[in-house]
Symmetry: C2
Subunit: 357 residues, 2 copies
Amino acid sequence: MTDETQTPPKRPLTLRDVSEASGVSEMTVSRVLRNRGDVSDATRERVLEAAKELGYVPNKIAGALASQRVNLVAVIIPSLGNMVFPRVMTNISEALDQTPLQPVVGVTNYLPEREEKVLYEMLSWRPSGVIIAGLEHSDASKAMLRGAGIPVVEIMDTDGTPIDSVVGISHRRAGRMMAEAIAKAGYKRIGFLGTKLSLDHRARKRFEGFTEALAKAGLEIADQEFYEGGSSLQKGREMTEAILKRTPDLDFLYYSNDIIGAGGLLYCSDHGIDVPNKVGLAGFNDISMLKGFSKRLATMDSGRGEIGTKAAEIIAARVEAGDEGMTEGKGVRIELTPTIDFGDTLRKRPSEAAYPE
Amino acid sequence: MTDETQTPPKRPLTLRDVSEASGVSEMTVSRVLRNRGDVSDATRERVLEAAKELGYVPNKIAGALASQRVNLVAVIIPSLGNMVFPRVMTNISEALDQTPLQPVVGVTNYLPEREEKVLYEMLSWRPSGVIIAGLEHSDASKAMLRGAGIPVVEIMDTDGTPIDSVVGISHRRAGRMMAEAIAKAGYKRIGFLGTKLSLDHRARKRFEGFTEALAKAGLEIADQEFYEGGSSLQKGREMTEAILKRTPDLDFLYYSNDIIGAGGLLYCSDHGIDVPNKVGLAGFNDISMLKGFSKRLATMDSGRGEIGTKAAEIIAARVEAGDEGMTEGKGVRIELTPTIDFGDTLRKRPSEAAYPE
DNA sequence: GGGGCCGATGTTAGCGATGACAGGCTTTGC
DNA sequence: GCAAAGCCTGTCATCGCTAACATCGGCCCC
């Protein structure tokens, strides 16, 4: 009886099955399926039909092994819960869509040992490039990245020494800029609210830049409040309440991200606190989802969209050039400039004179 | 520690390099690195040292081809911007952490043709299982899923016929439940605000269930407002303004998700609209990040955390059982019960009698 | 003391694709 | 009319690793 192939797939299909079904060699089938080399229209059609008929899906594992080419780009980020990273991912995907490359995500949860593990796993698939958040990695991770012989782009942060290429902003500078704006606006009693800084290096650097620039203006942090775990409006609200109860004379609150900052804003509205005159507020990251509050929270754009795009482009260019390694001065360095958005919660000048809205 | 490891990687390392460095056969090295079979402690140690010294990272491509085992689970979701999906992902990752399996994400942007492409790409890596959002797929996608010979779990939605296993809630039922609560609370003039429903099947089903149950209560949708693109508070705010200007006598607004619902809530607060008495509000999905508003938006928990965990467990169990196919009645069906959270924006009974809080 | 067995290692043959090259069969140019 | 130059297709070796089996000394036990 003829093998009418509606049969449930006992054994996964291979090129051979298609080649037999269409009466040509495996090689020809392979050529058709990859659109490579010359194949007559007649056979091409016959092969395609057979492949579709059988429902053949090529085995990239075998393909990659044979061709020594794996069109994957490892993207390693700390978290998916942070909104910033999905955004970066989206841009990376879009940029890579123009190329044969494809992103694969790995999540580290801000833990160096997890980063190491994830990196190892990813590298064992021999990707064509790596995009990884941050400049701080364990020695083992650094060694792996260097040894992989593929382009590496570290993203988000530029305060440090990159392994290869880097695209990001200086978080120290971002912190300084915000501090300068705050000092210039005449705020004096400044509170900081953020994550426990130990593992979030970028938040830490912003904090450092922030205190440094405050110091230069003759100011210092009057109180601070830390939290662990994911960000939420609720947490911002609670922390704001706590810090204001403890230190009622604070006149500015700097949050390490927009989510908790927005929570603080809600707290202030609910309690009739005059923002930005009694208390000023600022966050970080320009989470567009949050636009829509009655007052726009002052924040800073970290250029995360562009970061993703640029990083992907660097990888794509290097892979296309066949120059997969990171010889000589191939490393690109792109430092974007963060821009401050005063919103409605950060005055532009001292409040002595009242500026009606 | 000799720093001879500075060797610039000319040619990627293979098992052979390690085997030569440690003076045993490749096979033995392979055994050591996989912890399989008996190897004497002496050689094990020698091999491990050599591997570390060289910075060897095994090639999973070759390993997978040889062993016919790829410990990846394809997870296909519509978007990373939606918060719901990162949450599901997180739970899947956690559940798979107990196993040798690893998730790999693909994003479809709610487009069937992209879903098809992403699925094809993923299947060509021969994963051990597939977790895919929704029950609606193109014929080609369905054929691929059926033909892949691996366990498939469709998640989020149970209204329809699964290919294999399914874990989720009935969105029709969720819509009905909300409609019943609204009707019971005595709201009469109901508005709906949501995405253009064409491609978001789950939102569509909620809408259908919602109108159906309203009809049963003798009510109908008085007005509706649709949007495209990502959700944001701003969008919720604008849509709310639009619908209320057009149909000022609406006394309830049902939003297709919490983000735009929260935007509506902000609009109402700002305009002194008495919620929930003049107008009631409800969203969907219980986005915990949004807790912290002065009023808690009524919403519904879709059990997305549990969905991820259960889906991963189903795959893991099937893979472990070596029963990778989906023969007979292997398909598991888990329908979770959505729970309604009245928050502060949905009355529990008609407002004739005033119930002080 | 020799058969049996076991632990430790090596040998061989693929896994399913692709690269390089080797042909047949047509065309083309002069 | 015949060599050179295509097209189109096939053969063969290989990618780096692992399954399965083969091998080789002990060690145990009757």
